[in-house]
């Protein structure tokens, strides 16, 4: 597949993710919203991949899921309500930020046990193939998750059983408070795919066009071959692991270098340069996003907490 043309919609989605997470950060600093794992700096990686998927495809994600969810079309109000533990959240406030799944959007079985999404993805793909359902399975995980044994077990089984899983490794250089360098002896998680005879590719995760193009091609391969593929989006977590986090442990030069490659600023430039967007239109996008997020926050604030009487209901089917 050829490079996808630049697209203001992608910019808007990235802005939405950024604004949503900044609202959480602000709310959290004010003591009104629980802290979360933000994906600031990684918006292109999430938005690019999700836009390459079709409606039939299923998504498994993890603790750093805002980009995947919003790009898939989740309502920021219901997301924020979930983060705030309110009744109108997608999971009735039970998940909080860490295990949000949205069945109606095909976002299934989100796990915040790092590595568990890799264990579950094979099963989701198995039911696709056995039930003759269309669609592939996109499994988002980090460079940290790739260190868990489940990575090995999952890739081996997916290759062996020919399961249609698009493994998407967001290599953001951090595993909470541990730099990737302290956890893996080489730079790219994609290097591990060859052992399983799984085709892999690394793409600049801070370039949304490149991510969309690579993910489209990868998803098409999975769809056609029915076999797994590993796409590594090479990017950087420019905020802390979990709010609040002073990032005192982060190398300042490395951080600055990656901040200079901010995917949103970069893409805005590109669209402006290419004449696909005027400055006025860009401002308008930003304003629209800001007001959506303000409305989302108002919605979440208005949503009641679930009743403590329901504490133990819905455990069993």
């Amino acid at each position: 597949m050829n490079a996808t043309p630049s697209n203001p919609r992608l910019l808007e989605q990235m802005l939405l993710v950024r604004a949503y997470e900044e609202a959480i950060v602000a709310g959290s600093a004010a003591g009104q919203v629980p802290g979360t794992c933000t994906s600031v700096g990684q918006e292109a990686a999430a938005v690019g991949v999700v836009n390459a998927l079709s409606a039939d495809d299923l998504i498994l994600t993890n603790h750093r899921s805002a980009g995947h969810l919003l790009a898939r079309g989740a309502d920021p109000g219901r997301l924020l309500a979930e983060v705030m533990g309110r009744r109108d959240g997608y999971c009735g406030g039970r998940s909080g930020s860490l295990h949000i799944s949205v069945k109606e959007l095909g976002v299934v079985l989100t796990s915040t046990i790092v590595g568990a999404e890799l264990s579950l993805a094979t099963g989701v793909a198995l039911s696709r193939t056995m039930l003759g359902q269309p669609g592939i399975v996109a499994c988002f995980f980090g460079d940290g998750a790739a260190c868990e044994g489940s990575f090995h077990e999952s890739l081996n089984l997916a290759a062996l059983w020919k399961l249609p899983v698009l493994y998407v490794c967001e290599n953001n250089h951090w595993q909470a408070f541990v730099h990737r360098r302290e956890a893996i002896g080489h730079e790219h998680v994609a290097d591990w795919a060859a052992g399983y005879r799984i085709v892999a590719r690394t793409v600049d995760g801070n370039d949304v066009d490149a991510v969309l193009a690579a993910a489209s091609e990868a998803a098409a391969r999975v769809r056609e071959s029915g076999q797994p593929f590993l796409l590594e989006t090479y990017t950087y977590r420019t905020r802390g692991h979990f709010e609040p986090d002073d990032q005192g442990y982060v190398d300042a030069a490395e951080l600055a270098a990656w901040r200079a490659r901010d995917p949103i600023a970069r893409y805005r430039e590109r669209l402006l340069d290419a004449g696909m967007l005027t400055a006025a239109e860009a401002d308008e996008l930003a304003a629209r996003v800001t007001s959506r997020i303000a409305a989302a926050r108002a919605f979440a604030d208005a949503s009641p907490y679930p009743s403590a009487a329901d504490l133990a209901s819905g455990v069993y089917a």
Partner: protein, 322 residues
């Protein structure tokens, strides 16, 4: 009624349920090799061998259960469950609740447990209580082939994840098994023998030990009631409380370590809810706080024997007359 071993009763339940419901499939390390008749009947897509990796077997089952299939997985020996705890406990047990009910996980995990093969503590460790302690899971452990078949059918039809323990010591003992449906509902204990003097509560192979003990006790004029829990979760506390309310005496017997075991739970429920009826202390007989040695006599000594049950029951009954 035909006579089957517990192992074959499990096979029969699997075959019947797979025939009834096309979404049931079974996989595990060697399942397709060892249950060759299932492979022949249902084919290689529904009966699968797997790589040697319990985590991904369980994880795949959880993912599949959450999206439309009804997997049964065989994880072989209970200690190997240690490699699948995250998938079973953190995912299968919790994700229904955490998703606000969007997903459910109809999934059965088979595992052999207990003494019988002299293979030592890394193959023999009764850890069913772990799963009773963990939310969102059901736990079953039959004491005979008929229950094994009937409970497994119920487990496969249940919309929750079920841990299904097979007592190794019972696996090749024959027993009568009804040919028809005969689903045994989860969560219902059985009165294996009626009696008015003391209640013996047990599950798995020690049910037989309790029944043997009850024979001896009868000879000594003590009428022991024997309750086979069958399901450990949900635990049928109603039947236990009703019995203890009549007998006033409770002896709980199992092979697992006493500490925080199912016997502790049963004792605690009775001490809370049938306190007024109690005429004597509640006694637990269970495995010691030790790994199981491979050495035959040590392995055998690990399991509460009928003689120990008899003497504990006699002690309880004497307590009353004191």
């Amino acid at each position: 009624m035909p006579t089957l071993t517990l192992h074959d009763a499990v096979g029969a339940a699997l075959a019947e349920e797979m025939r009834r419901d096309g979404s049931v499939l079974v996989f595990g390390e060697g399942v397709a090799t060892k249950r060759h008749d299932l492979l022949t009947e249902f084919g290689a897509l529904r009966v699968r061998n797997t790589p040697l990796a319990e985590g991904i077997i369980a994880g795949t089952a959880v993912g599949a259960a959450g999206t439309g299939l009804r997997p049964v997985i065989d994880l072989l020996f209970a200690p190997f469950l240690c490699y699948a705890m995250d998938e079973l406990v953190n995912s299968a047990g919790k994700l229904r609740y955490l998703s606000g009910g969007q997903f459910s996980f109809p999934l059965v995990t088979l595992a052999m447990t207990g003494a019988g093969w002299g293979v030592g503590a890394q193959h023999n460790h009764n850890l069913e209580a772990w799963f009773v302690h963990s939310p969102g899971l059901k736990v079953v452990m039959p004491s005979n082939p008929a229950d094994a078949k009937g409970l497994l059918k119920a487990a496969i039809r249940d919309d929750n994840p079920v841990l299904f323990f097979l007592d190794i010591g019972l696996l090749y003992q024959p027993g009568e098994v009804p040919e028809q449906e005969a689903v045994v509902p989860l969560g219902q204990a059985a009165v294996a023998r009626e009696g008015r003097d003391v209640t013996l509560v047990s599950y798995g192979k020690t049910v037989q030990h309790c029944l043997q003990a009850a024979d001896s006790l009868a000879a000594a004029g003590i009428a022991a009631e024997v309750i086979d829990l069958r399901s450990l979760k949900p635990l049928d506390t109603g039947i236990v409380l009703a019995s203890v309310t009549r007998t006033g005496r409770l002896l709980v017997v199992h092979e697992a370590n006493r500490l925080c075991g199912v016997g502790a739970e049963t004792a605690a429920v009775v001490a809370e809810e049938a306190f007024a009826a109690l005429k004597a202390p509640i006694v637990r007989l269970g495995g010691p706080d030790a790994p199981v040695a491979a050495s035959f006599p040590l392995e055998q000594a690990f399991v509460p024997r009928p003689e120990a049950i008899v003497s504990a029951a006699e002690r309880l009954c004497r307590h009353h007359s004191a």
